[in-house]
């Protein structure tokens, strides 16, 4: 059984068909790349998986459970972490607070028990802080843990957003253009981290324009074009697929 199964899903925006009967799966412990020219429907697909929007038709199931129609926070709590195409770190909070907030569902407490600072709250906070520092170390941001997130560089904020998603301990990680705007060195580092995550048992679905990165890390690549799935195969096969070449040539002009 695949970890994530998308079954003949369509999304209609007031007559504009953004996705047309797309089906694809993500297996556990694999990295799946999702590529396609601008406007192909990649980000729409992400919004549908993470629950920010609901599909016009079709179903999405995660670990065998239908998640279509669930609220974003419910889907996140099931183990789907994500990053955003435009950075959505919480700039007013410090770096470590961003990570800690990512652990929201795993740290105990509600408004009352937190307000009275009951013993288990203290314990939970201490454990969370230790774990958060571990995540920052993994991403190479530990030296800046007390900085306001706003003061990090663009690349560091992207890393921080990845860290925040990791803090949920997701089983499936959705990365929306993680390499966009990064320097080649940063892209290389990011690829390494993503591969390490697969080693830790995570599945990753990555939308990316940076074809080199996707080709390097992905086990399979799915290609969207004008809202339709035109290929879903290994990187080598996708590279040679005439329809993919045509789609990229006609839209990107080479």
């Amino acid at each position: 059984m695949p970890l994530l199964a998308i079954d003949t899903i369509s999304k209609n925006y007031d007559g504009v068909l953004a996705l047309n009967r797309v089906s694809l799966t993500v297996r556990a412990r694999t990295i799946k790349g999702l590529i396609g020219p601008n406007g192909a429907g990649k980000t729409t697909l992400f919004h549908l998986i993470s629950g920010l929007e609901s599909p016009s038709s079709g179903t999405i199931s995660f670990r065998g459970m239908a998640i279509t129609g669930k609220a974003p926070h419910e889907i996140a709590a099931l183990g789907v972490g994500r990053t955003f195409q435009t950075i959505q770190t919480w700039g007013t909070m410090t770096v470590v607070e961003n990570i800690l907030a990512g652990m929201h569902t795993r740290v105990p407490g509600n408004f009352l028990s937190c307000g009275f600072w009951l013993p288990w709250i203290h314990k939970g906070e201490k454990g969370a802080l230790k774990e958060a520092k571990g995540i920052l170390e993994f991403l190479g941001l530990l030296g800046r843990w007390k900085w306001p997130a706003l003061q990090l560089s663009f690349g560091q904020q992207k890393m921080l957003e990845l860290g925040r998603a990791l803090a949920m301990r997701p089983k499936l990680l959705l990365l929306d253009e993680p390499a966009a705007g990064l320097t080649p060195a940063e892209v290389k580092k990011l690829s390494e981290k993503v591969c390490q995550l697969r080693g830790q048992g995570m599945a990753v679905l990555v939308v990316e324009h940076h074809l080199g990165m996707v080709m390097d890390v992905a086990d399979d690549i799915a290609v969207l074009h004008n809202g339709e799935l035109i290929a879903d195969d290994t990187p080598e096969a996708v590279k040679k697929d005439p329809r993919v070449i045509e789609a990229y040539l006609t839209v990107a002009g080479g």
Partner: protein, 313 residues
């Protein structure tokens, strides 16, 4: 240091006690709204209604039903909580200006109901003769005692709020304020967090209203209008969004300012406006932001100045 100043104030300056008690009551409301407005980034122009329901709950329970004031104090918080839950559930889906308008409307509706339900609330004239707050045979019947009562409650609530903002819930509040989509993406239930903080800030206002009724020994609709709602919002903004102590300082300052300017009669409002604008120009992110750093700077500036003068002479 601040705590010491608070405890010693009655000894140093007994004349300030009544106003400081009132400031403390407003500070409680401002502290609660700071969680909702300053941390969670949601606007409410109807907090006077929660203040009012606290005051009326206390006034009605103590004068009509002879409920002891401690019980009425608790009941006020419960009443404000229940009202906030019922109101918050539908209107917190709104954002920005729409939320401001909805809460504004709610505050006005509350006032109309209070004025019209004469049998229960005494209509426009209100309820008189609310007994002093008393607990375990000790009655808070002078400004001196009431000062300690109000500021004691305030300190308790500050501790509660401090714990809240340093915990996961505090982070959730800031996260919701900064990006709701991102907050939901890590599993934070945005609607529930908003409702929770709305209810807590309403409970703070309810407790403050209860204290207001027993300190002033009256509850009348004039005290809970839009003017108060706006004043509380100003306290949070002047005090600094996302700080807890700032709004308390601003509450003290604005209460004093209102009182001092009251002497100028019809000029008081324009003067108030001028002071408000000056504050926003010179402290755009609130007086409470980096408050300690500012105080240290002031003190050290004073020290440097003295040294300079000594060198010059």
């Amino acid at each position: 240091m601040y705590l010491g100043a608070l405890v010693l104030l009655p000894v140093i300056w007994p004349g300030s006690l009544f106003l400081m008690g009132l400031a403390g009551i407003y500070a409680i409301v401002a502290l609660g709204l700071s969680l909702f407005l300053g941390y969670a980034g949601q606007i409410s122009l109807g907090h006077a209604a929660f203040f009012g329901i606290g005051a009326y709950t206390t006034a009605i329970l103590t004068t009509r039903y002879g409920v002891p004031s401690v019980g009425a104090f608790g009941a006020s918080a419960v009443a404000a909580t229940a009202l906030a839950y019922i109101i918050g559930k539908p209107i917190l889906k709104l954002k920005g200006y729409f939320l401001a308008l909805a809460t504004l409307g709610f505050g006005e509706i509350f006032l109309v109901i209070v004025r019209e339900a004469r049998g229960l609330t005494g209509g426009v004239s209100g309820i008189f003769g609310v007994p002093w707050f008393s607990a375990a045979g000790f009655t808070f019947d002078t400004s001196f005692k009431q000062y300690y009562l109000v500021w004691g409650v305030l300190i308790g609530l500050v501790l509660f709020a401090k714990n809240l903002v340093r915990s996961k819930m505090g982070r959730a509040l800031l996260a919701v304020a900064a990006s709701e989509d991102a907050a939901a993406s890590v599993g934070i239930n945005v609607a529930r967090v908003k409702l929770g903080v709305f209810v807590i800030s309403a409970a703070f206002a309810g407790l403050a209203g209860s204290l207001f009724a027993s300190v002033m020994s009256t509850a009348s609709p004039d005290a809970f209008g839009l003017g108060l709602s706006v004043l509380i919002v100003m306290m949070v903004i002047i005090g600094g969004m996302g700080t807890l102590y700032g709004p308390i300082f601003a509450a003290i300052f604005l209460t004093w300012l209102t009182d001092v300017l009251g002497a100028y009669q019809e000029y008081s409002l324009p003067l108030f406006g001028v002071v408000f604008i000056l504050l926003l120009i010179f402290f755009p992110d609130g007086v409470g932001t980096r408050l300690n750093a500012r105080l240290i700077y002031l003190i050290s500036y004073w020290g440097r100045k003295q040294r300079r003068e000594r060198v010059n002479t």
